[in-house]
């Protein structure tokens, strides 16, 4: 049994896709060997194997990076573009939203845009207000793309392969705090299909719907509450958009209660969409209102104690669950 970290998982997935298909290439700031294989080492060792044309270190030019990925995709290649930190998508939203996501539709299906936009983020490392946000809702609101985030190393490997296979743009969100997580290596060729949620813990009292780093919090809280006789089912969406509605509704119909949880700020977050959908489609099964937890509605602060207070608290998750099941 071999353990791999999420960093290794992503590297392995990209490596094997590049080995199989000459059209797969990476571009982004600092990604090549000369720059150390990326700030988080995801593309480490790949320049040596595939050369500088296929691991292109770019200038600090997010619009040019995504634009180039779009153009190369139109010409039939499968670029993996890295936007070093998620907040920097603000620099290149036009290329992502007006171009990558819409070109299949606006061309009447002639020019699909198979690009993977890898980006990382995360609250809890002291990066402050412009290097920490989870902005998945911005992309989930746009038709024509997938938004994916893994919560463990095995899923990272499988989701990355599926993202590269996909014939549409995929925003692939990594979380800095999760790079060191280890899983048993699922092995070469492993794929986790896009649009399929996982249920890492089954339960009967409440569905806790989440994704990415907060899956870890969800599992920890669910484990603690189990000891208090509260059975929480954890649903890890894995693909945030379009999400696995069937899995979510199935879980809620079973438990009758739902709580959405994400690190992104709560107002207008993905949790609101999921909650609304649950209430429309599972009204008769619900034993109470769907609750939502998200990050504090402010910029992510710098000072450690402020940053820690900003993040959705495990104590709050537990309280909300207890209140929901009537044991608060």
């Amino acid at each position: 049994m071999t353990e791999i970290t999420m960093t290794q998982a992503l590297n392995l997935a990209i490596d094997e896709a590049m080995a199989e298909d000459d059209g797969v290439f990476c571009l982004g700031e600092d990604v090549a060997a000369k720059q150390g294989g990326g700030v988080f080492k995801i593309t480490s060792g790949l320049t040596e194997k595939y050369g500088e044309h296929r691991i292109r270190a770019t200038p600090i030019s997010e619009t040019a990076i995504i634009g180039a990925a779009v153009g190369a995709a139109l010409a039939g290649q499968r670029p993996i573009a890295e936007i070093m930190l998620m907040n920097f998508v603000g620099v290149c939203m036009d290329q992502i939203v007006n171009h990558a996501a819409k070109l299949r539709f606006m061309s009447g299906g002639q020019t699909p845009c198979p690009i993977v936009i890898r980006t990382t983020t995360g609250v809890g490392v002291g990066f402050g207000g412009q290097h920490s946000d989870m902005l998945e809702a911005w992309f989930a609101h746009v038709a024509g793309m997938h938004v994916v985030t893994p919560s463990n190393a095995a899923d990272a490997r499988g989701l990355m392969r599926s993202a590269i296979d996909a014939n549409d743009p995929v925003v692939f969100i990594e979380n800095i705090l999760c790079y060191g997580l280890t899983s048993e290596d699922p092995g070469p060729g492993y794929r986790v299909p896009l649009g399929k949620a996982a249920v890492p813990k089954e339960g009967s009292d409440l569905s806790l719907i989440t994704y990415g780093r907060t899956v870890l919090d969800a599992l920890e809280v669910a484990g603690d509450l189990e000891k208090e006789g509260i059975s929480v089912e954890v649903v890890d969406l894995r693909t945030i958009a379009p999400y696995d509605e069937e899995a979510v509704l199935k879980s809620v119909r079973k438990t009758g209660r739902a709580l959405t949880l994400h690190e992104a700020v709560r107002p207008f977050g993905t949790g609101a969409e999921i909650a609304a959908n649950i209430q429309e489609k599972c009204w008769d099964d619900l034993k109470g209102p769907v609750r939502r937890i998200g990050g504090t509605f402010s910029a992510v602060p710098f000072a450690t104690h402020l940053e820690q207070a900003w993040i959705p608290q495990k104590s709050d998750i537990a309280e909300q669950i207890k209140a929901s099941v009537g044991k608060g």
Partner: protein, 322 residues
Amino acid sequence: MAEIDRDKLLDIYTRTMKVNRTDEKFRALLMQGKVAVMYYCVRGQELVSAAAMAALNNDDYVVCTYRGQGEQTAKGIPIEKWWGECLGKATGTCKGKGGTMHITDPDTGIMVTTGVVGSGLPIANGLAMASQNNGDGKVTLVNFGDGAANIGGFHEAMNMAQLYKLPVVFLCQNNRYGEHTAYADHTDSPNIGSRAAAYGMKGVTVDGNDVNQIYPAMEEAVEHARSGKGPVLVEAMCYRMMGHFFGSDFSYMPEDHLAEMQAEDPLPKLRAVMLERQFTEEELDRIVADIDAEIAAAVDHALAAPLPDTDEIYKDVLEEVN
């Protein structure tokens, strides 16, 4: 400078008139109220588009803007499909889902038409990057206006293209206006072509109303890009002889500017060159008559064509995976 080959000159003339007759027809249809869509007139810029497309191979890539009729028709897009798209019909290049601002026809190398000023340049780099990666020898030409030279994507794309020596031709059609704002009111540098030097790139500024200047410049730029020496910025000086889009006010254009524009109209100038080079009036008129007949048939076809099914709004969003 060597004289343009006679066959090539005829080719450029034919392409120029295709662009011009399409523009005239479109404006006539709009005036008559037979169609009501956004259309960005290309009157005054026909020659630049035609010369640029004549310098490319059929399978080279082109990235257009919303004012892209010139590149599209001059590149040889099937005109029934082009009119179908402009009229929002199921027979259009994009099934009526793109429209005048988003014409796409990969078969003729029209890879994308963007409605966002300046967004085509970074995408052109990507098409060229694919060619550099797979060695297919294609050149990508991206067209844009003087207004686009002031958006961030221009700077990012120019720097990246030169850094990687991408086979791209950046064609700036300096039509003297960025939307309603005159060049001097949006830019203080004397021209756009000289900006290439800031990127270490080859750049030229040429008269886009004179075939003997614009075509050789385009040919040289395309050859430079194809040879692996890197991108070229060509600034073609021309005039937008109409408002920003059809029907829009252009009272902001000063009288003396209008007079200057009329004097530089590329069409009479091109015709004079053709006559000098021993083409006859009859030959030239016949070419125009043939183009008009072809356009009339394409317009009739498009007007009679079916509308897209309303189901189309749900299709081509994401690949349908079973």
